[in-house]
């Protein structure tokens, strides 16, 4: 992989920040965009902008085709059976809420059990928490083990005939842990439970095959995989989508409306009310094209090498504590940590003065923070355009932050 050539595809990466070269290590929050994505969005507005699925003129045909081509790109990217199973949403959060408010509303009843893990982002916990409250259902939390992996024994013991839904994050946005979603799905299906996989962090970094996983739902975020913000996708098995009531309603999601009757549109448009974010979808298609050209296997193995290097180097920072698995083969390129005596926000500010962007805070995973006994962590997260030199800069700046705060007993 020629990283220097790849980096030239991303205009922002050549930016100077506070007189230093930008080192962007907040990829779990959002990724930077290559020119092909920026250009695809500009091309729409310069050359063929028209609302989709409405006009009978040439521009509308072109924009509709581009929008639906993007759906096919998402289908291919995660290996779904059919484009009927791909619903565009604003983001992974909206995809997860869609499930809670449609399938969840109809299928979760008092006394039913919903099993989720301690590693869930708020987006795959709060919708189920609220659903359980509305219905009088019970939420069970699968803990993580000391090594940052999911406690599969605990998971197995929590499954019962009452389990109606299992929600699991594919790659933790804090620990970076890659959870065994295929095994989890098989176990849950034996109990007749539906399985929701939050793929916001995994889809950008590894090959996804929803048919192989066999999960019933899979949520994708566009902006975490080179695409524009405001576009995400929900994968759901066709049989589920057929049985589900619409989520939002209005234009686009109907076939026929009279004053006393409504006939819903076919899949997947039944779940896409109103003018969709076709600009975002068109950008996402360009992003997927870029990722496919690089090859997800290439991306995964390069990031694993980068993560192994980072774990090794970061260990040398005095007073550092790294959360989650310490073996690169168990995780994606996400490393959360704290340094004794230096609060994560202070680390964030000190790194910023060196042009290094990382995240500090609770990472929208407060239950996991509480479980780790902290209120905040610092987090460095990588993408294929990051380099070992950038990790060296990170480590040097972490040592500097320790020096500024002196050595605390």
């Amino acid at each position: 992989m020629d990283i220097e050539r790849i980096r030239k595809d991303f205009p922002v990466l050549s930016r100077m920040v506070r007189d230093k070269k930008l080192v962007y290590l907040d990829n779990a929050a959002t990724t930077q965009k290559p020119s092909v994505v920026i250009d695809a969005v500009a091309d729409l507005y310069k050359n063929y902008n028209a609302n989709v699925h409405r006009g009978v003129y040439l521009l509308a045909e072109e924009s509709t085709q581009a929008y639906e081509d993007s759906r096919e790109a998402v289908r291919r990217f995660i290996n779904a059976n059919s484009t009927k199973e791909i619903v565009f949403t604003r983001n992974a959060t909206e995809a997860l809420n869609l499930i809670a408010y449609t399938w969840g509303e109809a299928n979760i009843h008092a006394g039913d059990e919903i099993v989720v893990s301690i590693m869930e982002h708020h987006s795959n916990y709060v919708p189920w928490f609220r659903l359980a409250h509305r219905k009088g259902a019970v939420i069970k939390i699968v803990p993580s083990r000391m090594d940052g992996e999911l406690d599969m024994d605990a998971f197995k013991s929590m499954l019962s005939d009452k389990t109606k839904l299992v929600g699991i994050v594919h790659m933790s946005n804090v620990f970076g842990t890659i959870n065994p979603v295929k095994e989890i799905t098989a176990l849950a299906h034996k109990k007749g439970a539906a399985v929701v996989v939050d793929g916001a962090q995994s889809a950008p970094h590894m090959k996804i095959d929803v048919r192989d996983i066999d999960c019933d739902f899979f949520a994708v975020s566009g902006h975490k995989m080179l695409g524009p913000t405001g576009i995400g996708a929900l994968y759901a098995k066709e049989s589920y989508l057929e049985s589900m009531e619409p989520f939002l309603s209005g234009g686009e999601m109907i076939l026929k409306v009279t004053l006393d009757s409504v006939v819903y549109n076919e899949l997947p448009w039944k779940f896409e009310a109103g003018t969709p974010n076709y600009e975002g979808a068109i950008g996402l298609k360009a992003a997927i094209g870029y990722l496919e050209k690089m090859g997800m296997d290439t991306i995964e193995s390069y990031e694993r090498e980068l993560t192994a290097y980072a774990l090794e180097k970061m260990k040398t920072v005095p007073g550092i504590f790294i959360y989650g698995p310490l073996r690169a083969e168990k995780k994606g390129g996400i490393i959360a940590f704290n340094i004794k005596g230096v609060h994560s926000h202070d680390i964030g500010t000190i790194l910023d003065s060196e042009g290094i962007a990382i995240r500090a805070g609770h990472h929208c995973a407060q239950p996991l923070m509480i479980d780790c006994g902290v209120s905040a962590m610092a987090r460095a997260s990588f993408y294929f355009y990051n380099t070992k030199q950038e990790i060296d800069s990170l480590v040097a700046a972490l040592k500097k932050s320790k020096e500024i705060f002196g050595h605390v007993a």
């Binding site: 005596g341 230096v342 609060h343 994560s344 926000h345 202070d346 500010t349 000190i350 003065s353 500090a360 805070g361 609770h362 923070m369 209120s375 905040a376 500024i404 705060f405 002196g406 605390v408």
Partner: protein, 140 residues
């Protein structure tokens, strides 16, 4: 703008060895607050003697800026009248907002003046005065 200006020795000293940290018995007023996005937490307890802040203590956790600010501001207002306390708080807010302020009134609190150059950190430095504001409203 250098890091040494933001993380002055006095700030790190108050962060590592905070003054007035703990609880008061039978406080006349108490209040707490947090910055939900970063998780900084501050709680303040006050005892009044007529119109004077006779004692003030805080508890909390968070970054060096939020915790040193609590330590410094409690030092600044202890023994001051309510009016003097409000003046100090107003001058402090002016300083963080990048407006003109009276350095004599602020004393050691001026150590936090460079926070205004870091917009993302101003809320860390402001948390203590917000909590103090709420507590003072409980004073009849």
């Amino acid at each position: 703008m250098s890091l040494e200006e933001l993380f002055k020795e006095i700030i790190i000293e108050h962060y590592q060895h905070p003054k007035n940290q703990g609880h008061l018995e039978h406080p006349d007023a108490k209040s707490d607050g947090s910055n939900p996005l970063c998780g900084d937490e501050i709680a303040m307890e006050l005892i009044f003697d007529g119109n004077v802040v006779r004692n003030v203590m805080f508890t909390g956790n968070g970054c060096s800026i939020s915790q040193s600010a609590a330590s410094l501001i409690t030092e600044a207002i202890k023994g001051k009248t309510i009016e003097e306390t409000r003046t100090i708080m107003n001058e402090y807010k002016n300083m963080l907002a990048g407006k003109e302020y009276n350095a004599d009134i602020l004393g050691d609190l001026e150590a936090l003046s460079d926070v205004k150059r870091y917009p993302a950190r101003v809320k860390c430095a402001s948390l203590s005065v917000a909590v103090l504001d709420q507590a003072l409203q409980q004073k009849k």
